[in-house]
Amino acid sequence: MREIEAALITEAVKKITMEAGVRLEPDILEGLVSARDSETSGLAKNILELLLVNADIAAREKIPVCQDTGVAVVFIELGQDVHINGDLGEAIQQGIQAGYQEGYLRKSVCDPITRVNTGTNTPAVIHIELVPGEQIRIIVLPKGCGSENMSGLTMLPPSSGISGMKDFVVRQVVNAGPNPCPPLLIGVGMGGTFEKAALLAKKALIRPLGKHHSRPDVAALEEEILTRINEQGQGVQGLGGNNTALAVHIDLFPSHIASLPVAVNIQCHAHRHKEIVL
């Protein structure tokens, strides 16, 4: 049994929240570079270059990469041999609040009915998973909602099969058009139940950009859907070109014999995510 103080978790969450807001991770920067290098449209190439300049200014001057610093989605993988001295949920929320305040990040969370801003960017959306061991892995994904709003979920009949799933994903991206700030990262959750599919799609976003699923048939699907999306020609910011999406990440879970849930979580190019292991 390992003991961890709640205050240590607050401090860690605050630190990675502040970093995530202003600094894109190497995987997304490399994705933008390779998109720029492969881009066929001159305008799109220029915009991709501009996005790299933006990331550079953000990191150097600690200005958020995007003003939409998101609703904070926090994934916790909690080792079952850890004992936390204090309230884990509260520790995370305090870390988010402090990170947004001290990092000059925008507070974008409001009551869904009154639309009054909570003023702290809390509550964060927290997903906790128990895992073996005595470590805590914390991932903060500040999720911008220009892209989140373009996400969708469908409960397909199993007869629709793989082709129904592919069509739904491509249609979701095409219908989103320029709204979610392409080039995009597409998280797909396939199988499970209604809520499981959505969570799989969200969690697929935190896989390193472009790293394929371990199952070869799923990896092939990721590649095929990415190609189909990029053949549509909407391109960077919807202004044309061959880079509407940077990657498609699919995650799976077995489903009921009557059911084929498919969730598509759309992420913008300002894909901010940061993790720490305690």
Partner: protein, 195 residues
């Protein structure tokens, strides 16, 4: 990875002063790459809801939007010594329901990102107004083009306050022109030559 240089595109934009001089809006074409210098007002979801509430009461808006450009943005807070935090565009369709009423009051241009509804497009043609897209997700870079920022109204709404910005060489793309053309549609249908 080496530090990228600012793209050459930034020096090749057509310079446009705002508020617009007579005839300028009519001269801009869907697909034009422009850079804006002058003053504009900002607003997003709550800003619009509050403006609509004022109009419903028969009150005046806090600023006269006639002839102005309204930029859909909710900036992040400025650090000490900064004019403003990140300040890129938010998605425009959420404002579609409010836009025709503001165009009726003489608003001449809106700027955000993403497509506008058919109703807004028709209202723009009727009023000879245009819609511009700023580069989404480039909020840090765009903050450098904002040289002054002042809250004019709804300060308690935080990032959703109505700001007045002074901008210098702020880059944008003309999406909807006064002739009813839509650049996103032109790209999608392949009617525009690749740039």
């Amino acid at each position: 990875m080496s530090l990228p240089n600012p793209p050459a595109m930034m020096d090749q934009l057509q310079e446009v002063k705002i508020p617009f001089a007579a005839g300028v809006v009519e001269s801009l074409q869907a697909g034009d790459l422009i850079s804006l210098t002058g003053t504009l007002f900002t607003g997003r979801d709550q800003t619009h809801r509050r403006m609509m509430a004022l109009l419903d009461e028969g009150a005046d808006l806090p600023v006269d939007l006639a002839g102005q450009l309204l930029y859909y943005v909710g900036p992040s807070p400025a650090r000490p010594g900064q004019v403003i935090g990140a300040a890129g565009p938010t998605t425009s369709y959420r404002m579609d329901v409010y836009t025709p009423r503001l165009l009726d009051l003489g608003l001449m241009a809106t700027m955000g990102k993403g497509s506008r509804s058919q109703t807004v497009r028709e209202a723009m043609v009727r009023h000879k107004a245009i819609y511009l897209a700023a580069f989404g997700g480039a909020g840090a870079l765009l903050s450098k083009c904002i040289v002054e920022a002042e809250v004019v109204a709804f300060a308690d709404a935080g990032p959703e306050a109505l700001f007045k910005f002074s901008v210098q060489r702020f880059p944008a793309v003309v999406i909807n022109d006064v002739h009813g053309r839509d650049y996103y549609e032109m790209v999608k249908s392949g009617k525009d030559a690749p740039r």
